[in-house]
Symmetry: C2
Subunit: 219 residues, 2 copies
């Protein structure tokens, strides 16, 4: 059975985006702080950064990082997460996930701009560009996932849109105990998720707080 999943990193004040990017520091310091404990895991080192030396943490954070990549058969993301806003008028721009993106599944990119042909990358990732409604894209991704899960990868507004539509079975957030004070908040206008989903929480060795909401009917 396909579950629809979200897995994000947030600050304690609920922000999932950062605002201190500059031309000289395109990710910014805050993004490093927000993702630090995940980046440090052995799984992310191997899967995202190609570090196959076995380096990285192996505790609670790594268990969540490993689960991040397990059982996902298709991914949906907003145009910004693909990188479509970076070079909107370049039809040859292949996004900023590199030659071998970590997804290794079909990825459906939500966009309202002109249709684009799909892009096949190394490692099994194919980007498809869709301007349909959330339910329609989710139906297509669910079919493509063939009984594996569909992940709503982000960004924050895309994740919130799927949550507000009641389409998400499991949402896991890794909360860094820092206060960013600005950016985009995940939880706005999501009153009552705990009424339809049960919740579990645990604190990792790094201090990251992992909170998971799961729809009662799912595992």
């Amino acid at each position: 059975m396909t579950n629809v999943r979200i897995d994000l990193m947030l600050s304690l004040d609920g922000y999932g985006t950062t605002t201190d990017q500059t031309p000289d520091d395109p990710f910014g310091q805050d993004w490093g702080r927000l993702t630090e404990s995940y980046v440090a895991t052995r799984t992310m080192q191997q899967r995202v950064f190609g570090n196959n030396t076995g380096a990285g943490t192996t505790g609670v954070d790594d268990a969540y990082a490993a689960a991040y990549f397990e059982g996902v058969g298709a991914e949906i993301m907003g145009a910004g997460m693909f990188g479509l806003h970076t070079y909107p008028n370049d039809p040859d721009w292949r996004g900023w996930w590199g030659d071998e993106p970590p997804f290794r599944t079909p990825v459906y990119v939500l966009t309202h701009t002109a249709p684009r042909a799909p892009i096949s990358m190394n490692g099994g990732t194919t980007f498809h560009f869709r301007s349909a409604g959330l339910e329609d894209v989710l139906a297509e991704a669910t079919a493509a996932a063939s009984d594996q899960d569909v992940r709503i990868g982000g960004g924050i507004s895309t994740a919130r849109s799927f949550l507000q539509a009641g389409l998400v079975d499991r949402v896991h957030v890794a909360i860094a105990p820092i206060l960013l004070g600005r950016g985009e908040r995940l939880w706005d206008d999501l009153r009552g998720v705990e009424l339809t989903h049960s919740v579990t929480s645990e604190v990792a060795e790094s201090g990251t707080i992992h909170v998971t909401f799961s729809r009662a009917s799912t595992q």
Copy 2:
């Protein structure tokens, strides 16, 4: 040495106030959900509700509840927390904390309305009404606390004002894993508290997430 402390209950989306009060249900359902795990502790049952049967939880939540009342020599609160807004024109209104408030210390109530005489309650609580600036009221409370701590009791905007002014040594929040979606958020415009304070987190048996920021120079 006096530390300035804050101890609040928040929802996962950062709200410390609730908005579903009605004339028939003056606290509202949300307040009950926000405070449920604290109200259930043996300490709060005894100290706030006068239940001396020994009933109540005795786990992680109760340890924080007990710490709440330890070592506090004076309290500062906003006018709303005292109840001044409920009957603003009644000089005989003694607040809504009952005949024997749980504070048992001098309590400094911040107000911009006409001066009021102090009110002495049973059990050692005396309410003083002050319209001075935060630093001045804190200096008076610190002197009254005679080496014990000063607590900024609330409400949320009062707590945030002291945090924004950099006057708080330790802030503990008990986060209920619920999403209220509306109310008053504690963390707004508090970017960077983790740069001056270290942080610890733990999850209670109830699912409540306890997060504590402590200024590096304090215990």
